[in-house]
Symmetry: C2
Subunit: 467 residues, 2 copies
């Protein structure tokens, strides 16, 4: 076995103790909010059959799936031996013969697969959350990884707008609990976008319109204009679009203005004279009011929000942190046909997802991680020699029995080295008991951050370490 310099794959990361502790803090906040709202945990396997994954994320997504090689003699499986002609035809021809499994690409498709496989035993509406890593063979770059965690909450089997309102509540509670108070929860409705298309009079295609609007953040009004003109929209239509998109005022005022504008453009309404997208947004707002939601200043109806070309059919959501320069930290929406690809049509659901890496970066930039999160060991017992170590063992046991994370430096070493160890590990307290202190029935407790040293009896030590 030759000696090698080890490395980890591009785009993947080791998380050392301090980072895991901080990530677990974020996961814990999210998990507690999800559970308080009645969402229950689900975990699905890392590997899914490629037949489940392929075709669900578009052509580009299929390329970005990590595929797992069949085990054993993968070239010569019965019914699927790789031939010289296959090799000639290239990777696409060979792939299905040598790989049947892939790594989870998101948490939504495995969730849909789970719902369909267990539809006979699940209780609907089914509310689940899922906090697991996903993998994408994307080109790694700053802030983009090939392995990263998603935190999803979805409810399927109901089209009640209460679910949308509760998503806003959950988003708000997670952000405020983390201290990310400077945020904007943006909300829109897929059918508002559809009504824009109708209001423009039928030029171009809906897909072209949504794709262009989705880029507004990145390429600005000029870029979107250019793109729409290229795609066959008239200058008058584009001008009309930006007039519609520029509605101002409160949530309710914007809804009202668009209602009037759509009516003026003679876009057909529902039987009751309303536009369904606007109407549902109004209902969500009303439910939040009934709830006693107090953060309306952080909720914005943003008619330019498009959330890509994904499967959403109703309300869509996105969160921006206002005082950090970063993309959205969360997004989601309602979909009417999540499980259709697996043979179970007509199951409506709504859900959203937090990106943990971005939340982490925001908390770090704003210095919002609580200090207590950083370390696990609270007290190091330092010893003068092996005999002293032996005497400290019952002390160590009693500290742990009191719930204090504690350790004894395991080797015979100078006190300076032991203090350095505590300092490097971020252990806040060092406890000593030399012959003098022992004779007096006391301990020396040193707080490393202040340098303060105290001579204390056992009960006072326990008090200091458990408070």
């Amino acid at each position: 076995m030759s000696v090698q310099k080890p490395s980890i794959p591009q785009g993947t990361r080791d998380f050392g103790p301090a980072v895991v502790a901080r990530r677990n803090y974020i996961f814990g906040v999210i998990r507690r909010v999800f559970e308080k709202f009645g969402y229950a945990p689900l975990e699905t396997p890392t590997m899914e059959n490629l037949s489940v994954l392929t075709g669900k994320y578009g052509e580009e997504g299929d390329q970005l799936l990590f595929k797992v090689l069949n085990s054993g003699d993968f070239l010569t499986k019965k019914n699927a031996a790789v031939t010289a002609e296959d090799l000639e035809a290239g990777s696409r021809k060979v792939l299905p013969k040598i790989a049947e499994k892939g790594l989870r690409y998101d948490l939504t498709v495995p969730f849909a697969r789970y719902v369909v496989m267990n539809r006979g035993t699940l209780t609907f509406p089914f509310k689940r959350y899922q906090i697991q890593p996903v993998w994408r063979a994307d080109r790694p770059q700053r802030g983009r990884y090939r392995e990263f965690y998603q935190c999803d909450a979805d409810v399927v089997g109901t089209d009640s707008l209460l679910c949308e309102a509760e998503i806003v509540l959950m988003m708000s509670e997670v952000l405020n609990t983390l201290g990310l108070t400077e945020h904007t929860i943006k909300i829109n409705h897929r059918r508002v976008l559809g009504t824009f298309y109708q209001a423009l009079g039928g030029e171009g295609t809906e897909v072209d319109l949504f794709t262009a609007i989705d880029k507004l953040d990145k390429i600005g009004q000029d870029g979107v204009t250019r793109e729409l003109l290229e795609r066959g929209f008239s200058e008058a239509s584009v001008a009309r679009l930006f007039e519609l998109l520029s509605v101002q005022g409160s949530f309710a005022e914007k809804l009202q203005q668009l209602q009037s504008a759509f009516a003026a453009a003679q876009v057909p309404t529902e039987a009751d004279g309303s536009y369904k997208g606007l109407q549902e947004l109004g209902q969500v707002q009303q439910l939040l009011q009934d709830f006693g939601f107090t953060h309306f200043d952080h909720l914005e109806f943003d008619p330019t929000l498009a959330r890509g070309l994904s499967y959403y059919t109703g309300c869509i959501f996105e969160i921006k942190i206002n005082n950090v320069n970063m993309g959205s930290v969360s997004g989601g929406g309602r979909y009417d046909n999540l499980t259709g690809a697996f043979g179970l049509p007509g199951v409506s659901g709504v859900g959203f997802s937090f990106g943990v890496d971005r939340l982490y970066d925001c908390l770090e930039e704003l210095n919002l991680f609580p200090e207590a999160v950083a370390t696990t060991t609270r007290c190091l017992l330092a010893s003068f020699d092996l005999e002293n170590s032996r005497q400290l063992l019952p002390i160590l046991r009693q500290l742990r029995e009191a719930g204090v994370a504690a350790e004894l430096y395991p080797d015979e070493a100078k006190l300076g080295k032991q203090f350095k160890y505590a300092d490097a590990k971020g252990i806040p307290y060092v406890l000593l008991q030399g012959p003098e202190e022992q004779a007096a029935g006391q301990f020396k407790l040193k707080e490393l951050s202040t340098g303060q040293e105290q001579l204390l009896g056992w009960n006072a030590v326990l008090d200091a370490l458990t408070k």
Copy 2:
């Protein structure tokens, strides 16, 4: 996109809400004990480079690694295009050209890789724990999965036997906290096995002897005898071996008997007249006594314990649950050269691992899961109609503000259906407030397990749900 009946890969599992909650309970107990002993969390990537994994688990292990196909056009990578000759030569020849990464096979090799990559910045002794899944392309069978979690704790950079003693303490605390009080923690020392070999007078090989002893549990004394005779050991030697293995009595008595037996067989001692394996076991026992360890009746010196042919060089551990018919739920030991393969020789460490699936099965068989673990939502608000739902929203908010996991049935439905939902989800309480109760400023709280219904004021409701 054609409709398909979805499935998951062989040997993998979905974990629904009830199972996740129970697994998280086990993980939580283990994590808290690890942290109380000063072990800090580490997480490594799911994929490792095959150069890191290959050759670390023996020939068979290499076969059981899941390999990840290179992304993109994997057949024609520069410097590694697959040729017709490669195809002819077979899978082994093609593999290194199309796969550079594999899935984590255990937590030990990634830990060693991490230590070597970060040796400049880590503080030694480095105590880490790691709770993550691993993957093995084993033939799936009852109780053996292709994806399963391991919970490891290791300390490297010290050869202090305090670490061995603390492993016994951690094992004992985890098992007792889980309620698995009927257990045996078996301990042995690799050098005791080595001394057996010397005592037999140099027939056969050490590897053959250890391999045979390791099977004693499975094939019994007759099987081991047959195997050793086949491998060139004499009948006298085998008889002598079983005489040595059959020592009886307390921990200390067994140590004493073997010391005498080895001396009688004229096996060379250390300079101080001791046998190092026996001596270290004695020291571990002494440290546990100093600690005030009270469960010596569960600790057994088992000279037949061999723990396979792995990399252990010092003490070895294994846990059996006595009242469940199942293999060991935990094992570990000391190794002197964990990081040698990565160019960092001489780093001594000791660690152990819990198998969560087996612990889970034991708790289930013995009915030891606490009831409170089973559900997350504590109270369902049932509503009579949409108007009633709206009135219940502030109640829902206040319950959650008080930390009560609560949900409102989102659709208009008959009460019977809502109660059925609560029952199926294992929600213990249903809260109602019809017009009558509202007029009286009261609520109806029903406990589903007993059927008991109470008319209560708001404070009494909060009391009942938060107690």
